[in-house]
């Protein structure tokens, strides 16, 4: 597990318009640019927000990342709370 790389990916997408564009254009290729564990890669590919939260992604990195992925606040909260 490489929480640093996982959080770095979220932060790069959140903070860098070019990274965000790359990510949205080809997510699988973008993920290849980070040294992620299988669990982290799977959670990202599926946008499993509950899993990402429990893997330890800081909430202020995770929530903006999910906004970029088009997730509403109610859906985000329901997901991390395990209500979905």
């Amino acid at each position: 597990m490489s929480l640093y790389q996982l959080q770095k990916l979220c932060r790069d997408v959140n903070r860098d318009p070019a990274a965000r564009e790359s990510f949205l254009a080809d997510r699988a290729a973008f993920l290849d640019g980070y040294e992620l564990s299988a669990a982290e890669r799977d959670a990202l590919a599926a946008l499993d927000m509950h899993r990402l939260y429990d893997l330890g992604v800081h909430p202020l990195l995770l929530r903006p990342f999910t906004i970029i992925n088009g997730v509403s606040e109610p859906d985000y909260l329901a997901a991390i709370r395990g209500e979905t």
Binding site: Q7, N14, P59, L60, I80
Partner: protein
């Protein structure tokens, strides 16, 4: 000379991004309080504002995380958030004041980071927007780490504020000090939307009374239990130390559910 003005203000981004989601009586009270702080700050005639603040992964990340970072730049651009409803602004800095602050802190054995190139997010831009729009007053932002453990303790932040205040008391400048952040909030967490009103009430009472023994002893875990955003109150603690113990007057406090934050504004002066 002594600090000419001191206040502490919350900066929950909903206040400008979705203001009307809040109940009107809450929103109106908060806006009125922010406008009063703006007017009182203007009347104080400060020639610079030191802002004790926090940020949200804008400049700093786990690759490099300063406990304190003094913004020594000639200018700062912000906000980074396009959804904040605050226009992109170039905020003038005060490199000379920042350098003087840094020299004094280093002489006191406190060795903060510094940066000549910071972007500002809602943490600093919300108060700058409300308090300094239309002015040319320079700002020295001092960003405290309130994101990633280990964070500077309440005691450490208190000593930081005391050293800052000691320098400003002797400096030949009319300086206002604003603390921003807090109060209890848990953004993006499972507890998102929950406000710890008891914690906030006790903290505000200690700030109003300048109860330094209590403020400098606030436990990290107690702040975390009130929500991860609560760590931002370190800026308020540093402010109380910087004033040398000025009592505070609470202008307003509301647990604003749609902004998911215990939102408060307080002014400080030697005689309340």
């Amino acid at each position: 000379m002594p600090i000419v003005f001191a206040a502490a203000v919350s900066h929950a981004p909903g206040v400008t991004a979705w203001p009307d989601a809040a109940p009107p009586e809450q929103k109106d009270a908060i806006y009125a309080a922010y406008h009063k702080v703006r007017d009182d700050l203007a009347a104080a005639g400060a020639d610079a504002v030191v802002m004790l603040t926090s940020e949200h992964w804008t400049n700093f990340f786990f690759d490099q995380m300063p406990a304190y970072c003094v913004g020594r730049g000639a200018q700062f651009d912000g906000p980074v958030e396009p959804w904040l409803n605050i226009p992109r602004t170039r905020v003038p800095g005060d490199p000379e004041l920042a350098a003087g602050i840094l020299d004094a802190l280093y002489a006191a054995g406190i060795n903060p980071s510094f940066s000549d190139d910071l972007e500002l997010d809602h943490g600093t831009m919300v108060p700058v927007h409300f308090l300094l729009s239309g002015t040319t007053t320079p700002v020295v932002p001092i960003i405290l780490n309130t994101l990633a453990e280990p964070m500077p303790s309440a005691e450490s932040c208190f000593r930081f504020g005391a050293a800052l205040g000691a320098y400003l008391a002797d400096a030949d400048r009319r300086v206002a000090v604003i603390a921003t952040g807090g109060l209890s909030h848990a953004p993006g967490e499972r507890a998102h939307g929950t406000v710890d009103s008891d914690f906030d009430a006790a903290f505000l009472a200690d700030m109003a009374a300048a109860n330094h023994d209590a403020l400098r002893a606030i436990d990290h875990d107690r702040m975390a239990a009130a929500g991860g955003g609560t760590h931002e109150i370190r800026a308020w603690i540093a402010l109380s130390a910087a004033t040398g113990g000025w009592p505070g007057r609470l202008l307003t406090y509301h647990a604003v559910k749609p902004w998911a934050t215990g939102f408060g504004l307080m002014e400080f002066s030697p005689a309340v």
